[in-house]
Structures are given as structure tokens and as C-alpha cells.
Amino acid sequence: MKTLSALVLGFVLMASPALAAPATGEPIKIGEMMPYTNGPSFAVPFREGWQIALEQINKEGGVHGRPVEIVSRDDQADPAVAVRIAEELVSREKVVMLIGAGFDNVGLAVGNYVNRYHVPLLKQWAGSCGPIEDPQNTYWFNTTPCYGPYARIFAREAAKLPYKKWAMIGPNYEFGHAMNESFKAELQRLRPDVVFVSERYPAVSKINAAAEIRAIDRTKPDAIFSTIFSGDLASYLLHAQKVGFLQDKYCISGTNIGSKTSIKELGTAYPAGWLTEGVPQDTNGLPVDPFVKLYESKYEQRPDLMAIYGYQILLVAVDSLRKAKSLNGEDIRNALENAKIDGPFGPVQMKNKQLYPGFWLGHTDNQNGKGSMVNLKWHSPEDLFPEAFQTTIAQ
């Protein structure tokens, strides 16, 4: 019986070279973790994204004919729990690599673990640049650039504008300071005439919007760079709406508020005219389009940026598994160093442990209480991150 089916399978394979056989045999396991029960709105879209990639990959024959299996865990947004889960995934489930680890602190704890135990980790978005660029880091990779280059994108856009008096507001922890300081340094380098009149760092999820806005308003800035997010941003916008604070100020949001989730979460208070990152409504002809179609047919809604990241991360993971000489940690790691995919953001390649996909930058809009993104423009990685691409050439 077995021989027969193998024969049939072989025949089918020969007859239709374009269609690979579905994967069979012992699965190759990848461990995944996200804060599923702590309620951040990015965890589930992320899972939906990689689930689509997983189906596709296994239909196409998996990795060298073996199916890929993802063992998914809830990291409870707690770094200590995440390390225990990493131990469990690696020593009990025998996963060959880890993906996910949502929050920055969880990612850092797991990154610290994988470097010691030589398990490759792919994280969907980066944190501050220090840990990932640290020469001691050998096993942790990101599929988006860390805060420094990301903030510099916005500084370059800001430098093109006529505004000279800038204010900044960001959450008072590492992320906020890292983003804002990178922005400030780059803008001042490009435009020595710019002054920063106010820098505010309210405590995370404890913002006193009225007091912060008054403190900024006293310094009369022309433009504001902001990295506060979710609840803090909502309180800030609601108060700004009441006192008319933002009417005459240009704003850039370094945190992505162009996503579908943000538009929904900020509701009627969604700001208009802010520069930020987003996904275009019309994706026809774009590299992301096939994924958008798959996602829409499966979940009956448009994918959020996080779902695209979830899709992309598994493509990168599987690319490295396919190219790796063997499935031991070091070989996968070496393959990851040069991972290269033609993914939802077009062709991208790993550079210095980070992927530099391009971004759509555009302006937020609010028509009668309904938020949207307008004038989204694609920026290619070479334009956005010249330094990353130049260093590779120099090497």
C-alpha cells in the first residue's frame, strides 16, 4: 500500500511539476509566544497572519517535504513566564526556533535566553537598538528595524518641513526616550536651525493629559513629535479636542497610528493631518495584495499591519529552515543571517540581524468622526534606511 501511494504520489509530482506535494512525515516545530490572554489587540492579528502563511507553506511541501508545526503559547506579557515558556518549548517540545515575543521586555528576556542556549529567535518588531546591535547578540533577529533607524525616517520627513520650534512627548520608559532622542538627534543634524522647546515624558498609562498639554502649549511649538500610544494617546487627543490644542500644530506620530486597530481604537478623536505609518486601502498590484486577498477570504475583513508582520515572520523563518544545512541552532542562525524573501513588502533581505522592509507613510484624516489614512506613499527600504544599505556595500 505504501509503495503504491508513493508511486501515485511520484506520478502526480512528475505530472504536475508546478504543484508541490503537501508535506508529510515528522513535523518540524517552531515555538511561538504572544500575550494572548492579556488583551493587547496585536496578538490575535499576528496569529491570523502566520496561520495563513503556515497553511500555504505546508500545502507547498513544508520544509524539505516535512510539514511545519507551530506550538503557540501565551506569554502573559510577563518576561519571567516567557523565559519558562522558552525553556518548555525548547526542551520539551523540541522546537528548532522561536518566533513572536510581543512586548519589548518579553523580547529582551527571551533574546537574553536564546543567546545563551543557542536557539534562533525571530521577533516581529524590534525594540531599542542597543540589545539587537550588541556584538554579543548572535541568535536574536528582527523582522523590522529597531527604533533608531525607524525614528530617523520621521526626522528626515520633518527636516523637509518649514517648522523650527518642535516639541516632543513620549512615554517615560526606554522606548519613548530612545525613539524621541533618535528623532531629535537626526533632525538637529539635518536642520541646525531647529530648536526643541519642550520634551515631556508622562508615565506610561498614567498620563495627566491636561497638565501635559498645558506644559507643551506654554512653549508655543510649531510642530510636535509624539510617541505616546493607546490609552495615553486617547486621553491626550480627547483633551486636545476640548481645548483646541492641536489646531495649529503639525504632528508626527512615531508610534504607528495608521493601522486599522488604531483607527478603530481612537474613534471620533482620531487626529487629522498627522504623519504616520499605514497600510493603503487599495492594494491591487502591490506585493502585499495576494496576502490581503487570502486574509479577506478567510477572516472577512482587511488585515492589520500586525497580521502582515505575522505572515512575513513565518516566511522568513521557513526560508531559513529550508536553507539551513541542518536543523541545529547554529545552522539555522547562519541561514537567518542571509534570509531573503519575496514577501508582502516586496523582496527583503536580512541585514545585521534586522529586516528593513519599506513603509507606507501618509497622513491621518478624520471626516465627520471617521478616521482614515490618506496620501499613503510607499518608501522603499533603500530610501528609508540608506545607512543600513551603505554599510553593507562598504563591507
Binding site: V44, A203, N208, A211, E212, L238
Partner: protein, 617 residues
């Protein structure tokens, strides 16, 4: 800087408007505490539910004048109904249990409501409409000030007046004040307390729901509203004095103003500031600004009582068998088994240290994570900045925790009951806030990385044996302290503090030393925890760490010696296994805690002892 008078006035009004919301929520909690003596964590859930329900109602009724205000009012009534159901179904059953158990039970309710809310409304934040005709601002001395915030200040004034009239001009108010003064006297006079308590609970829940619903035009409705508000509100009612209405008013204003001006003057320490004020007030006024001394009957002495006996012969044999079994464990289980067992042993040591200070020590602390975190951070800081070796760090961490216990304990042992619990809580939150906000030194939220054990202990088996030896020794030492003269003296102070003092025992000093001893072992556990994870984060200092240990002690049984050990094994196994397969881990955990408080307040080991072993009374 050119700060003008108008700037101060507006900032003052901003402070008052946040005080207004704090007052609404806090007054409800304070009223409830006054009669039931329960400090209700789930009050935060009611506040959150008020916001969620009114959001949903506004979607259906529209954001016109009638729709908006109607939704707010209906949501508050719905919250009052939910509060009433909670009181009848659950709280009525726990009025007789010790106060820290009540605190824990209401925290369990908060966990349950978090999962229920998540499943009804989903994980995304929701943003409601602005209030009709109050969506703009008016100009005061040339500065714009939101009319809605002005409205809130006025509304708080109306509520204060209403509550005053209710308390002082109605029969219900007289009964309520009488119950606050002396519950037993009121019961003797034939007043049906059951419905008095229920009605107070309904009123308090209404105010919580109203507070939450009124936030709609000010912030987005989110799943973190409950914890965010409840910690602030605890601070407010503790500063004001538990159960005192005018204390709550004054303290809400103080907190609101400190927040508004603190941000301008000390932007870096906003999180610490609040707890610092609370600690200072409690040091000088141990019962808050207007609180009264509680009857010592309700103080911590109820936590545990009766004798603790050394283990019987069969118990010792069993312990030796288990200890020997654990020694051979690496022969049978893989790396993950060893990692998990090491983690259980570390938590067991932490839980035993908490049990030591609470049960034989008789000090009802609610911030034990402080010492665990101090140990962990001492290890991390010494490793990072002084590059000390592991043995040195393992020795220094308990010392750091002792230092903390000496400093904070000195203030704590001068306080009692719920105030003591809140003071320990405040200290733990302060140190947490320092670790969280002082990111140049502690890395803030990003924690401290690369804290790995020394080369010789780096493989899992070696680390397991080291943890085994240190935790085993720690647990045995803590246990043996209980049967030294020091341990007997601690229990004498706990059970009969006046008599003990008459015998020449210095109660405060004994409890102070007790906190140092418990802190030292918690610090050791924290240091081992840091090495086992390779990193340290502010979460090691937060309220969940305290609660984990608390639940372990409770599962096992408060008044037993083996309880914390059994509890930590069961808790960690449950957590790792259930959270792997279930998305409602918090709901399950909350239900387990509630079941224990209501049905097995003596814990599993306690129930076992009662059933099978005659404990000498």
C-alpha cells in the same frame, strides 16, 4: 520661566477635576469599607464595567443629550445591580474571614471580571463620544479650560452634599453611621444588617460605575482601567482614613493637586510621589488623616491562631523520602522538568518566608514582593556594575533585603491591620516605581539582562542541585526558627500582645526582626530567581508577585507549616499546565481563590489535618 497666576489657577482646576473623579470612586469604596470592613479590589472592576456598559449603551441610545446622560445613568444602575449580586452571592460569605483573605477574595473577583470583560468587549480599547454641549472649553484668565472638567468639579460638589444629607439627615444614614461605629451594637438593637450592607454596597457600586461612565469623554475605555484606578483609590482612602467621608474628600483633593503640580515640578518621579505621600501620612497619622483606631480584635491576630506543632514522626519520614526523591530527580526527568522543579523550589522558599511573617509572625503584610525584588535587583546591580561572582551575590542579596526590611519594617510595625497592609503595599509600589522609572540605572521596563549563574552552576542539573540545597536549607531554617524562643515570642505577641508585653517582650522589636528574617529569605529566593531567568524585570517587584506567594500560602493553608510548600507545588503546576491550554487562566485562577476563601479557608493541608490528624488545641 514666567509662570503666571492664570497658569496656576488652571493647573489647580485640573487637579480638582481629577480629584472629582477620584472622589466619586473613592467615596463608594470608603462607605463600603466603613460598614463591611472589606477593602474591595473589585471596586476597580465596577468602575471599569461602568465605563464599558455606558460605552455600549451610548452606541445604541446615541450621543444626544438624552442618549448620553441616559446611558451614563443606566450604566451606573447596572453597575449597582452587579455590585449587589456580588455582595449577596460572594461577599456575604466572607464577612467573617480575616481581612487579608477578604482582600485576596476581592482581588480574585477582579481577575474574574477581567476575563469576562475581555470576552464580552474584546481586547481593543474603545473610545466614546464627547459629552453633548460640554465638548468645548471656556476661557479663564485667557487660558482654555474644558467645560466638561468644570462640570465634573460641580458634580462632585453635588455628590458630596447628597452623601452628607443622606448620612446625616436620614434614618438609613444614622444606621449606616452606627454600623461604621459598632456593628455588634447595631445588631443587638435588632437592625437587619444584611440589607443595610447590601444597600451600602449597591450605593458604593453605583458611585464606582458613575465614576467609570463619566470617564467616557476623558479617556478610552480599556481593560487596564480597573487596576489603574483601584491603586489610586486605595491611596486616597488610606490617606483620608478608612471609612471617613471628609477624609476621602480632603485626600482626593490632595492627590489630585499633587498629581497636577507634581508633573511640573518632579516629572521624573510621578509614580513614586503618590506612594511617598501615603507613606508619610501613615507614618505621622497611623490611621490616615481622619481615620479612627480600629478595635484590636479585627487586627491581624485573626490571620492565624492556635498552636503550630513540629511534624509527627511519619511526617518527618515522608519529608526525608521526598527530599531523597528530589535528589535523584535528575535521573528521571529532562531539562524542562529540572527547570520547573527549580522554579517551584524558589517560589516555595518565597512562600514559606511570607508564611513566616504572616502566620507565626502575625504581621499582615501586603507587599512581600518588595524583598523578593530587592534580592533580584541586588543580584543584577552587583553583577552588572561591580561584576561580583555568584556566591557573593547570593550572599549579598539577602543582606540587601534585610536592609530594606530594617528601613521599611521600622515604619510598618508601628501600624496595624489594614493600614499596615497598605503601608507595606505602598513601600513595595514605591520601590517598583523606582525600578520602573529610573531606567539609567535599572534599565526601567527593559530590565537587566545577562544575569547568568557561574560556570560551575550553569548546566541545568548543577543549578537544580544548588537551588535544592539553598532553598531546602532556607525552608528548614525558617521552620526551625518557629520553634526557637524567638519564634514562641513572636507567636505570643501575635496571640496576646498585651500579655506578652507585660511579660517583658518588646512586640515591635520582635516583629521588626521577624520582618528582617522573612525579608532575608525572600531576598535569597529573588536572587535565585534572577539567576534562573538570566534577567530581572520590575515585574519581580509588582503586586502579582506578592499575590502569587499569597495564593500559594492560601492554597496550602495559613495555619500549617507544610501548607506553603504544598501550595507552591500546586500553584505552579496549575499555572503552567492550565495557561498552556486555556485562554481563561485568570478566570480559573480567580475562581480557585474564591472557592478556597469561601469553602476551605483553612487550605488544603489545613483541611487534611482537620480531617485526619488530631491537632492539639
Amino acid at each position: 520661566m514666567g509662570w503666571r497666576l492664570s497658569f496656576f489657577l488652571i493647573q489647580f482646576l485640573t487637579g480638582l477635576s481629577s480629584a472629582a473623579v477620584l472622589f466619586l470612586v473613592a467615596s463608594g469604596l470608603s462607605l463600603i469599607f466603613g460598614v463591611t470592613r472589606i477593602l474591595n479590589f473589585a471596586h476597580g472592576s465596577l468602575y471599569m464595567l461602568g465605563a464599558f456598559i455606558s460605552y455600549t449603551l451610548v452606541q445604541h441610545l446615541g450621543d444626544g443629550v438624552l442618549g448620553f446622560w441616559g446611558s451614563l445613568l443606566l450604566a451606573s444602575c447596572a453597575t449597582a445591580a452587579i455590585g449587589t449580586i456580588i455582595e449577596i452571592l460572594i461577599l456575604r460569605r466572607i464577612y467573617h474571614v480575616p481581612e487579608l483573605f477578604q482582600l485576596l477574595a476581592t482581588f480574585a473577583l477582579l481577575l474574574v471580571f477581567q476575563d469576562i470583560t475581555l470576552h464580552i468587549w474584546g481586547p481593543e480599547d474603545l473610545l466614546g463620544p464627547q459629552a453633548p454641549s460640554l465638548s468645548g472649553s471656556i476661557e479663564i484668565l485667557g487660558e482654555a479650560f474644558p467645560t466638561y472638567d468644570l462640570f465634573l468639579i460641580g458634580l462632585a460638589g453635588v455628590v458630596i452634599t447628597g452623601l452628607y444629607l443622606l448620612l446625616f439627615k436620614t434614618r438609613w444614614g444614622v444606621l449606616l453611621r452606627a454600623a461604621t461605629e459598632d456593628r455588634e451594637m447595631l445588631a443587638n438593637l435588632g437592625v437587619n444588617q444584611k440589607w443595610l450592607f447590601t444597600s451600602v454596597f449597591a450605593l458604593g457600586s453605583f458611585l464606582a460605575g458613575l465614576g467609570g461612565a463619566l470617564q467616557l469623554p476623558r479617556e478610552s475605555v480599556s481593560l487596564s482601567m480597573d487596576m489603574n484606578v483601584i491603586i489610586d483609590v486605595f491611596v486616597v482612602i488610606v490617606i483620608g482614613g478608612l471609612g471617613s467621608l471628609r477624609g476621602t474628600v480632603l485626600s482626593a483633593i490632595i492627590v489630585g493637586l499633587v498629581r497636577a503640580f507634581g508633573i511640573l515640578i518632579f516629572p521624573e518621579i510621578t509614580l513614586v510621589l503618590l506612594f511617598l505621600i501615603m507613606a508619610i501620612v501613615l507614618i505621622f497619622k497611623p490611621h490616615g488623616l481622619f481615620g479612627k483606631a480600629e478595635d484590636s480584635v479585627i487586627a491581624s491576630s485573626q490571620l492565624a491562631s492556635g498552636a503550630l506543632c513540629p511534624a509527627p514522626k511519619w511526617g518527618r519520614t515522608l519529608a526525608v523520602v521526598i527530599a531523597a526523591g528530589l535528589l535523584t530527580l535528575p535521573l528521571f526527568v529532562g531539562d524542562y522538568g529540572l527547570v520547573l522543579t527549580s522554579e517551584i523550589m524558589i517560589w516555595a522558599l518565597f512562600a514559606v518566608s511570607l508564611h513566616f511573617i504572616m502566620s507565626p509572625g502575625g504581621v499582615g503584610v501586603f507587599g512581600h514582593a518588595l524583598y523578593f525584588g530587592l534580592g533580584a535587583y541586588a543580584t543584577a546591580l552587583l553583577t552588572k556594575y561591580l561584576a561580583v561572582t555568584m556566591p557573593v551575590a547570593l550572599l549579598a542579596s539577602p543582606l540587601a533585603a534585610i536592609l530594606g526590611a530594617v528601613l521599611f519594617g521600622w515604619f510598618c510595625v508601628r501600624s496595624q491591620g489594614m493600614y499596615l497592609a497598605m503601608l507595606t503595599f505602598a513601600f513595595a509600589q514605591m520601590v517598583w516605581a523606582v525600578a520602573f522609572q529610573w531606567y539609567d540605572v535599572t534599565g526601567g521596563d527593559n530590565g537587566m539582562l545577562g544575569i547568568w549563574p557561574a560556570e560551575w552552576a550553569s548546566n541545568k542539573t548543577a543549578f537544580y542541585y544548588m537551588t535544592y540545597a539553598l532553598c531546602g536549607a532556607g525552608i528548614l531554617l525558617l521552620r526551625s526558627f518557629i520553634f526557637t524562643p524567638f519564634g514562641y515570642a513572636l507567636r505570643a505577641v501575635r496571640d496576646q500582645s498585651k500579655r506578652a508585653e507585660a511579660l517583658g517582650l518588646n512586640a515591635m522589636r520582635l516583629q521588626w526582626i521577624g520582618m528582617g528574617v522573612a525579608g532575608a529569605f525572600a531576598g535569597l529566593a529573588g536572587s535565585l530567581f534572577a539567576y534562573s531567568k538570566g534577567s530581572v524585570f520590575p515585574t519581580s517587584l509588582d503586586i502579582h508577585t506578592t499575590l502569587n506567594a499569597f495564593v500559594m500560602v492560601m492554597i496550602g493553608g495559613f495555619n500549617t507549616l507544610t501548607g506553603p510548600l504544598v501550595g507552591s507545588v500546586i500553584y505552579i503546576m496549575l499555572e503552567t499546565e492550565i495557561s498552556r491550554v486555556s485562554e481563561v487562566w485568570r478566570l480559573l485562577l480567580g475562581s480557585i481563590i474564591l472557592a478556597i476563601v469561601i469553602f476551605f479557608p483553612q487550605g488544603l493541608v489545613g483541611a487534611f489535618n482537620k480531617r485526619f490528624i488530631k491537632v492539639k488545641e
